[in-house]
Symmetry: C2
Subunit: 255 residues, 2 copies
């Protein structure tokens, strides 16, 4: 089904086909977005301002090699010669008997097709007009990015959204999370030590005024520090601060 | 908690704060992305190339009014004067004791804060360097968009991803789907009528050769047309085509 020399990535990562794109800037920005999310197969159908295009290279920033390796075709069928499953992006509802998918379901459809060994492509139309009906006929389904009133999405922004949606479903996508802490989190014991000191000082300073108000005030105060998920170092910092505050107060009292 | 004259939308839609942005083009493209997804509150902290900026207006396309109504502040604390909950976007892991969220969980966090009546903001740093640590200290949590090796996301593309993620979780976001068909879908009866005619013609043409092969061949053939989810008009078209093919065959036979 595939040429033997094809890279693994081009088999499983959809090709991005820009159909009659106009502005080099948009081609470059699309390439940069592709590169951000692990896409490598850029194909251009009849770019309107000719090719190569210096502005595309400039705009691609670190993805200039991807722009330089883009393949250019005269017609969409030529660009799709080795594609088995294609989704066309479109802003408007079309009166064609085609399923229209959200970006998320589109990625599911692409993944299913890829699992069946199909080489996939995502098609994007020209800036002003989008894909023509005769481009759309060649697509297996359509994708529409839902927008608010202003539905005019920039071409490279469309590529960005689709590439982002695709990449975040990759099992190998790096998972973000709380970074490795420079300090270990404070255990309950450390926190309780801080609370004891705080309570002692506040009692001594007559902060709670009347005994009946103390439970609520004290619970609310502790809650703030529990919620902060303090590190051991931060508890040490707080205890130092607390001591400094308290001792200064004592000195003032002594005046 | 909020000024009484504030619009409903600015209470529930996060503000977008671009911190020391450099290029007018990026500010304009960010405004366009905001407008695409229903955002309206754009704030700029010390834009490096001055303000107003013609390139920002040009790049915003239909969202030029949003650029023109952007509020400019000298410092980040000034820009955040009325904000209760802020997320900072960052490409790099920071050694700060802050949660780092995926865009999707970031939207959940923003929605929870908005439900508590908090006015929210999303912060984006300058093009080359991103947010500084002292900007990040003011954030409640961080957001990182996972990328492939090339992690350098364009500023307006970051805004796009976050605005897209936010908007697609709005209950009022238009749901895409199969568009209203110009023709009603064909019911089973119409489809069966077509199948009967097809079977009759194929039997007459001795297409199935041997009776034992017919069930599988016939099932596979019908499956194609079932899967196509034909409209009534398409069934009529197919029946016409079938008749034409069959009658032509008969004429040939008669030769």
């Amino acid at each position: 089904m595939h040429s033997p020399d094809a890279h693994h990535s081009t088999l499983t990562t959809p090709a991005i086909i820009l159909v009659r794109p106009q502005l080099g800037e948009n081609i470059g920005a699309a390439a940069r977005a592709m590169s951000n999310f692990g896409f490598s197969d850029l194909r251009l159908v009849a770019p309107k301002n000719g090719w190569p295009n210096e502005r595309a290279v400039d705009m691609a920033a670190g993805a200039a090699p991807l722009v330089e390796s883009a393949r250019v075709f005269d017609t969409l069928p030529q660009a799709m010669h080795d594609i088995h499953y294609a989704l066309g992006t479109t802003a408007r509802a079309r009166f064609l008997e085609k399923a229209v998918l959200e970006p998320e379901s589109a990625v599911t459809a692409l993944d299913e097709a890829a699992r069946e060994g199909k080489r996939c492509a995502l098609l994007f139309g020209p800036e002003r007009t989008g894909l023509e009906n005769e481009d759309i006929v060649t697509c297996d389904a359509l994708v529409t990015i839902s927008t608010a009133e202003n539905a005019s999405l920039n071409l490279s922004q469309c590529v960005m959204v689709m590439a982002y949606e695709w990449f975040r479903r990759r099992p190998e996508a790096p998972r973000v999370g709380r970074p490795a802490l420079s300090n270990p989190p404070a255990g309950r014991e450390k926190l309780e030590g801080f609370f004891q000191q705080l309570e002692e000082y506040l009692d001594a300073a007559n902060h709670f005024r009347t005994p009946d108000k103390k439970p609520v005030m004290w619970r609310n105060l502790r809650n703030i520090f529990v919620r902060a998920q303090l590190s051991e170092q931060e508890v040490r910092t707080l205890r130092g601060t607390l001591r400094a505050l308290y001792l200064r107060r004592r000195e003032t009292d002594a005046d």
